[in-house]
């Protein structure tokens, strides 16, 4: 009998955490008058440290708008991606408006509320590279991606995301050699050595690629049309259904009243939220 005590304790804890979760997040936010948002610390122009040493960007502005709508202040925290996507936040963060693409693995530990924008995946190579003109040219080439990103999954032909027409993604390439990097900057550093030296191109999203092209003129170019469109969702910790519904309504309002379009135009120069 003694042995079962820890198991009972564990069971009770589990029960308690499930029972206490209805609307718990909103209660906490209202009590502390603060919405705590987790974001990626460096994902310009969606979230990054600006010249004033503050987190800024498209994702941050949306989080600010949500906080304003709730009538509370916003506090931004920047835990690493691994920590956020491990789930089990235990009240540390209320929401992650952080350009997250849902997949089967993440959906097991996080709840996805609503898609708020869709980012085109684009191929970037050096400005001089004439060997890559359309996306299918990547067959047999060496392509840099951020480790653990959806772009890596795509090149592995293993990306399961909802598409607009409901059809699975088409993998139009063969024998691509994947070069995963700890972060995109290292991939672009290698690409700038010259196409083919270490890698031939980098697969990334339009938003971050466009900004890099603008900031470093004459070095890189985007190859052809986007490869596919990737939905980005608002994510929350598992369990609090009321909070999930409320957040979904708020983002829905922002879509209707033009807030999302305005912020998208402000940060990306075009509307990627439709």
């Amino acid at each position: 009998m003694k042995r079962s005590v820890p198991i009972v304790c564990f069971g009770l804890t589990l029960l308690w955490s499930v029972a206490a979760s209805g609307g718990e997040t909103l209660d906490r936010i209202n009590k502390q008058r603060v919405l705590v948002g987790a974001v990626d610390p460096s994902y310009p122009p969606f979230s990054f440290l600006n010249d004033k040493n503050q987190m800024d960007g498209f994702d941050i502005d949306i989080a600010k708008a949500v906080a304003a709508r709730l009538g509370v202040k916003l506090r931004i925290e920047t835990p690493s991606w691994e920590v956020v996507t491990a789930g089990h936040w235990r009240g540390r963060w209320d929401v992650c408006i952080c350009s997250m693409t849902p997949d089967k693995q993440k959906a097991q530990v996080l709840d996805f509320v609503v898609a708020y924008y869709s980012s085109p995946a684009v191929l970037v190579t050096t400005a001089q590279n004439a060997a890559l003109t359309t996306a299918p040219d990547i067959s047999g080439k060496r392509i840099g991606v951020e480790q653990g990103s959806s772009y890596e999954r795509f090149l592995q032909k293993d990306l399961l995301i909802p598409t607009p027409d409901g059809k699975p993604l088409t993998y139009f390439f063969d024998k691509v050699r994947i070069a995963p990097y700890g972060n995109e900057d290292l991939a672009f550093q290698d690409l700038s050595l010259g196409a083919g030296k270490r890698i031939d191109a980098v697969l990334s999203n339009y938003g971050t690629a466009k900004l890099r092209l603008d900031k470093m003129p004459g070095k890189f170019k985007i190859v052809g049309d986007p490869l596919y469109n990737e939905p980005n969702w608002v994510a929350v910790d598992k369990g609090d259904t009321e909070w999930k519904v409320l957040l979904g309504q708020i983002i829905g309002e922002f879509r209707k009243d033009g807030t999302l379009s305005r912020l998208s135009n402000k940060w990306l120069g075009k509307d990627i939220t439709q």
Partner: protein
Amino acid sequence: MQTTSPIRKGASGFSLRVAAVWLGLLLIFAWFVSSFDLDFSIVFDKLPNLLGMELSSEGALQGVPLTLLVSVGSMIVAVLLGLLSALGRISSSAIAYGVATFYNSFFRGTPLLVQILFIYLGLPQLGPVPAAIPAGIAALSLCYGAYLSEIFRASIVAVDPGQWEAGEALGMRRRTILARVILPQALRTSIPSVGTMFISMLKDSSLVSVMGLWEIMFLAQSYGRSSYRYVEMLLTAAVIYWILSMVLEVLQARLEMWLRGHA
């Protein structure tokens, strides 16, 4: 020391020539870096933040002061843990020896990043939800305490066993001999190794940024990415760490000299 000091004393202008070698090596390093085609203008904009001269917009410590807080706090706790664990290692109690060796083996044998995440993500599953700074200090001090315990144990064992016998002959208790005779000598010989550990910890403390702490490496990487001047910012962080390490080296040398005078 005994073999090198006569040579040093005999050579005139030794320190001058050492300075010349340093200058030469620094110039080679500067030439190597200058070949990277870098633009350092951004560095001066961001330097005050890296040095942590202001609090972050959320009112938290950042940059150098945060790195120092985490490192110094962890070092103090680590020294205590290391001493305790070293005493456990030389203890005749099976429990003390068992706990000390298990602790030592686990925290020396597993990656520091895993330990940090274990504490930060694992503890909340049991109940307490530690904040990032305490979790970081806990992980760093547990890990480095295990390394230090080996250093302390080796220094204690290295003290001539005759000293134990002499103490016993004088009718002193084992505990008194340890506290009054053995440990003062052991700690003095362990200073260089402890100093090395401290410098190593200073840099390992950058791992706490996974919990969202804005220490030196976090800021350098974030600024580097948002300004597309990644290598420049990393080099700046490297120089800051190097200067901090040199300050520690000087402090360590002072401490050694001071202890030699008080032996």
